[in-house]
């Protein structure tokens, strides 16, 4: 797993993708930090995190689009799949590389906290809670992105499809509100990524939400492994 992780990290930077991702992430988070936190005169960072949900929807597919699609297109997957490594190692190596870049991007909030420290008192509990929530969101969404990347040979297809799926996940809430059957409504509202995320930004730490994100991450990584496995059998 280490070898694949290190190669993937290198590829993020040599291809310039990591720079683009970090730059765009910093630009938007900087804008929201200025607009929703600094200008409002509060040291509460929750509005920043609330807005970043939508930005992350579009940025994560950029991070994950080439992870498996490019391997298939360039036939480099032949090298990986015939090496003495398991499918989980391949998938997780790539997954954690993307997650690392995501964490680097997200950790910019500590610089914002530093700035806030000059202007007032930082509410560390909400900030760390939010940071943690965003990290969990990333674990789930990156797994979805990696999975979609494994379905196609084309990076662009992977990116657009991932954006659509993540956007659907975001819109899912407004769908589920319209459902009149109570039992179905109950199920769909439990499956809401956004509601669970917003819960964290309000300072509520919910263990079921943590499990929800982590099991989504596991499930989609598992699907990815199955896709690779199935390709051998077709």
């Amino acid at each position: 797993m280490g070898a694949i992780y290190r190669r993937e990290m290198g590829a993020f930077f040599t291809s310039g993708l990591a720079y683009v991702f970090l730059a765009v992430f910093y630009a938007f988070s900087g804008y929201y930090f200025y607009n929703t936190v600094l200008l409002s005169g509060y040291t509460d960072t929750s509005p920043l995190f609330k807005n970043m949900f939508r930005i992350v929807l579009f940025l994560i597919p950029i991070l994950t689009m080439r992870l498996l699609s490019e391997e298939k297109k360039n036939r480099t997957d032949q090298g990986l799949l015939t090496a003495p490594v398991g499918l989980w190692e391949i998938v997780l190596g790539k997954y954690f590389a993307a997650l690392t870049i995501y964490i680097v991007a997200e950790s910019i909030v500590f610089i914002y906290a530093f700035i806030l420290g000059y202007l007032g008192t930082v509410v560390w509990a909400t900030l760390l809670g939010n940071y943690f929530a965003m990290l969990l969101l990333g674990t789930a969404f990156i797994a979805v992105g990696v999975f979609i990347s494994s379905l196609t040979e084309n990076q662009m297809t992977a990116a657009v499809f991932s954006m659509a799926v993540l956007w659907f996940i975001y819109l899912f809430d407004s769908f589920s509100e319209k459902i009149t059957w109570e039992w179905l409504n109950k199920i769909t509202s439990e499956l809401s990524f956004y509601t669970r995320y917003i819960e964290f930004t309000r300072g509520v730490f919910n263990l079921t939400s943590v499990l929800f994100y982590l099991s989504t991450a596991f499930l989609f990584n598992f699907f990815t492994v199955r896709v690779l496995e199935k390709r051998r059998w077709s």
Binding site: G10, T76, Q78, G79, T82, P84
Partner: protein, 362 residues
């Protein structure tokens, strides 16, 4: 070392590989020969665990590729048809990655140096792979297969796209590797297989059509025996030629005779095929003495690998056209003379096949 039992691969309705079985012993260089689409790459992809088989079993050094994939795969170095190179990495970066990927325990610096020296890529180690020529990429591909010193090397068309001198280099390298590794090599280039391999398996339409050394295959496939004669008649004209053909044809044990090229003015070569039981050399000599002709050359020529390959892969059609129009032999004989040397390039071989087909259609 490698044992393949009843291997079958089915894609939907299409049977890509049908019930192939063979064994490769330690230190053997085995050549997979077959026309494009015969199932060579499919078989190799199954041997290396890239794709699974529909049925059958593959044992690499005793480990089943499906049951114990890691153990089996750690014994294999694989160079696929398209080398699995990350083109935005340097050669050094890539080989270090493969070293880690294969969890190699050999001393890193020394081992990578050995591999690079062997593949002659030491002077390009700091360059990006995307800036390398096809020949160098192929060598980097071979280098990655050699990392961790696997006992089994599987090379899928290792010389495709290389120039003639590079082809010779790679072949020499493969022969060298064959002393320490078990090598399976696929190709559709006949001289290559003949030059490098101890043993040949001819695959056609997903089945093993022949298995053995080039000589064994030749003697199993056919009982034909051919020779080339160069005889000088008295008048140095066409009438000589016809008289000689008729006279030889009248001898016992001759299957057919055909006048070939005019080698010198009025002197012709004759292709003679016997039934294989009678030794007709003395009879021909006596005949020439009696008629006052001079034998300038008598050369026995057994079937070449190329003849065998065409016979097997073109199947019944070739055989039918042979027997029904025995006088109109395919022009294959010219080709054999041209491509007999092992250094003949790929184009030669391809042309050879083309002209042979034309000959068959006449």
């Amino acid at each position: 070392m490698i044992e393949v039992k009843n291997l079958t691969k089915r894609y939907g309705d299409k049977l890509a590989v049908n019930n192939i079985s063979f064994k490769v012993e330690k230190g053997e260089i085995l050549g997979f020969l077959g026309p494009n689409g015969a199932g060579k790459s499919t078989t190799m992809n199954m041997l290396t665990g890239y794709i699974s088989s529909t049925s059958g079993q593959i044992l690499i050094n005793g480990a089943d590729i499906l049951d114990e994939p890691r153990k089996a795969k750690s014994n294999i170095g694989y160079l696929p048809e398209i080398p699995p190179l990350y083109v935005d990495m340097t050669v050094d970066g890539y080989l270090n990655f493969v070293y880690d990927l294969k969890k190699c325990k050999l001393p890193r610096k020394a081992h990578l140096k050995d591999v690079c020296d062997l593949c002659k890529i030491s002077h390009v180690r700091t360059r990006l792979i995307k800036n390398l020529s096809k020949g160098y990429r192929q060598r980097v591909g071979l280098a990655q297969a050699l990392i961790n010193n696997p006992p089994v090397l599987i090379l899928d068309e290792p010389t495709v796209g290389l120039d003639p001198s590079q082809i010779i280099e790679i072949r020499t390298l493969i022969k060298k590797l064959g002393k320490r590794h078990t090598v399976i090599l696929s190709s559709h280039i006949l001289p290559e297989i003949q030059a490098v391999c101890d043993r040949i398996i001819i695959i056609n339409k997903g089945v093993v059509a022949a298995d053995g050394t080039a000589d064994e295959i030749a003697s199993n496939i056919t009982n034909e025996h051919k020779m080339t004669l160069r005889i000088e008649g008295p008048t140095h004209t066409i009438s000589d030629k016809n008289a000689i053909v008729d006279a030889i044809r009248a001898l016992d044990g001759i299957k057919y005779v055909r006048a070939d090229m005019e080698r010198e003015k009025g002197i012709y070569d004759f292709d003679v095929e016997t039934d294989g039981k009678t030794d007709v050399r003395r009879a021909i000599n006596a005949l020439c003495k009696e008629k006052g002709w001079n034998i300038l050359m008598l050369q026995l020529s057994d079937l070449t690998l190329e003849d065998i390959f065409l016979k097997i892969t073109m199947g019944e059609q070739a055989a039918v056209s042979d027997s029904s129009k025995s006088k109109e032999r395919p022009k294959i004989n010219f080709v054999v003379a041209d491509t007999d040397s092992t250094d003949a390039s790929e184009e030669d071989a391809a042309e050879g096949e083309d002209s042979a087909e034309e000959g068959g259609d006449q």
